[in-house]
Symmetry: C2
Subunit: 366 residues, 2 copies
């Protein structure tokens, strides 16, 4: 029996974790890394990235700058990322010099909605009805097949409701197609859901898996508004969600934290999408668990054992979008609220400026 | 009635907090500041300061470098510090350009053991019996008066048991005096204590006060080893400790977090010492409260309302001193432990390398 089936790269004390992307997720990953004594190096094209405020080092360069990429990859001890839309050529180049967690397969699957759906179906998991197409005629046919309402989504680079067009009536299909501006897209059928939940799941380098309790998500204008823990689901639905997330992690040979969004329907759980990174719907863990999703991700990436993801408190996380940040003093006066701001210099409509975690009380039951 | 008795300087979003000193306390203050969206600028003579790893900007310069001090003071929106032994001339210079919290009075009192004891006594608080002296003869007389065992402590710059000499027998007095190498010192009598506790107290710019629950401290070799919450004291002792800490805060017109160490004796609480900053014995708050001591300090300094210091969990904090850090993997595998490392490059005997917070369970009672 071969016990050494896993190739574990456990980082030495004070090693440097390289992070692609410098937004709020990178910011909170840097804080988590600091708790474990690790240093961080952010690679990000935007010079005013909020993550840089708590990183040891920031490289400000484009994802096409091979010289900067090489210097970055050589100077860090492992590479991870805060967003999935990293160009394949960038990854090819970085991998010459260093390991990237989560792996390429996780990125390839999650960068393309069509590939992701096919992958999930290949595991026997349910996804929303969908159709790919390569022409207007094929699309119009697909809408007929899937029915209305349906939603058109670009295969790549969509997030927070961007790159989407709704088809509420059949006669809107032409205009929706035009909205995509020729970008390869998929058409998704409407899912009649009871609620939306997500599981923040982690897999370590030894293959161990730990999942945080599912949270219940409310979206507004295509952007996550609140996540409440515990989700109002049955014990079997909770177990289903965790097992499905685990199946995905194992199938990908994944290392790190993965966000899995589900529709809860009368016909079981339907996977909406997966994100190969720490996830907005996991921010509640900062005030609900001893080890939060950010530390869990860092632990996986550096080859440490996963931490205890059990929740000690019930929490409601609310995103502060755009001018919501003007309410900060109200939250500062609220004794049950923990504030988490991202240090972004400019407020813009739809921009995630921070979030709050309202601690609802101790978690007596799971 | 004048309601505007307090001069409140509430910082704007994304303001910069200047921190004198770049050790682990600064490091954790930077993390707390980032949660509230503030940026940080550390001023520290040591180029490899662990705080710099999570600060936006670090100025590496001596406390005598007036040019660097002026540039620092002008570039930040408020100044605070992580240690009390800042030269008075440095403070004089910085205050020309910016506000410093906690204030000068707090520093003057806590920089000198004699001044501190006289101040505490002037408030009607009990301190250990002590005597100041200015010659060997006066010292030998003081030892006779106070009795043995007693302990000789330098008036200034002592911490973690440094600058101290014990006098267990009268005949050791001469040698103890020599150990002080002429540094102005005080002789303290032995306090027959049941236990040692500390209160982490905070006062905001409006004069509001919030205290964390007292912790019970165990020292080893003059260095804090563990802090356990709750302390095994009576409700009236707990109330006493909080009221005494509040009296000190008000008397100093203090803004920020103050650590107050007490001996619990059969004759009531005796104050050992005060520290005008976040305190090692308050590290448990990171895993025991919604708002920890670091955020509480930042809130006070930036003019925010103080946060909720109520504890949700019982915690035992243990310092990782020197090679204790080699046990980190053991703690990483312990499901009730949160690890907090300081990112120090070199292990030295007696050096604080990190701490762990063991979460003992929910706090049902105060």
């Amino acid at each position: 029996m071969n016990l050494e089936i896993y190739d574990i790269h456990m980082l030495e004390k004070n090693s440097v974790i390289g992070i692609l992307g410098g937004g709020q997720l990178a910011r909170m990953l840097c804080v988590a890394a600091s708790k474990l004594g690790f240093q961080t190096h952010i690679y990000e094209p935007d010079a005013s990235a909020p993550g840089s405020q708590v990183a040891n080092v920031t490289t400000t360069a484009s994802y096409e700058d091979q010289e900067a990429l090489a210097a970055f990859a050589k100077s860090v001890d492992v590479i991870t990322y805060e967003f999935e839309n990293i160009p394949a050529a960038t990854l090819d180049y970085l991998e010459r010099y260093n390991s990237i967690y989560p792996n390429r397969k996780a990125l390839e699957v999650s960068q393309d909605r069509l590939v992701e759906k096919e992958f999930l179906q290949s595991l026997g998991l349910q996804v929303a009805p969908y159709a790919a197409f390569s022409s207007r005629d094929e699309f119009l046919h697909a809408v007929q097949h899937i029915g209305v309402p349906s939603i058109l989504k670009t295969r790549r680079f969509g997030y927070d409701g961007k790159g989407q067009a709704r088809v509420l009536k059949a006669e809107q299909a032409d205009a929706a197609f035009d909205d995509m501006k020729g970008a390869p897209s998929v058409c998704e059928g409407f899912v009649d859901f009871v609620s939306e939940i997500s599981v923040i799941a982690a897999r370590g380098q030894t293959g161990e898996i730990a999942c945080f309790d599912p949270g219940e998500n409310i979206h507004r204008d295509g952007i996550l508004h609140t996540t409440s823990i515990p989700a109002k689901i049955s014990a079997s639905q909770r177990m289903d969600a965790v097992l499905m997330a685990s199946k995905i992690l194992n199938a990908l040979g994944y290392v790190g934290v993965l966000g899995v969004e589900f529709f809860v329907t009368k016909a079981g759980l339907v996977i909406n999408e997966i994100a190969p990174r720490v996830h907005n719907s996991g921010h509640w863990t900062q005030n609900g668990c001893i080890i939060d999703q950010f530390e869990q991700h860092i632990r996986a990436v550096v080859g440490y054992p996963l931490g205890n993801g059990e929740r000690h408190s019930n929490v409601e996380m609310t995103n502060l979008i755009g001018t919501d940040i003007n309410d900060v003093m109200q939250y500062a006066n609220d004794t049950q609220v923990a504030i988490h701001l991202y240090g972004k210099a400019h407020v813009r409509a739809g921009r995630k400026m921070g979030h709050i975690n309202r601690v609802l009380g101790p978690a007596y039951t799971k």
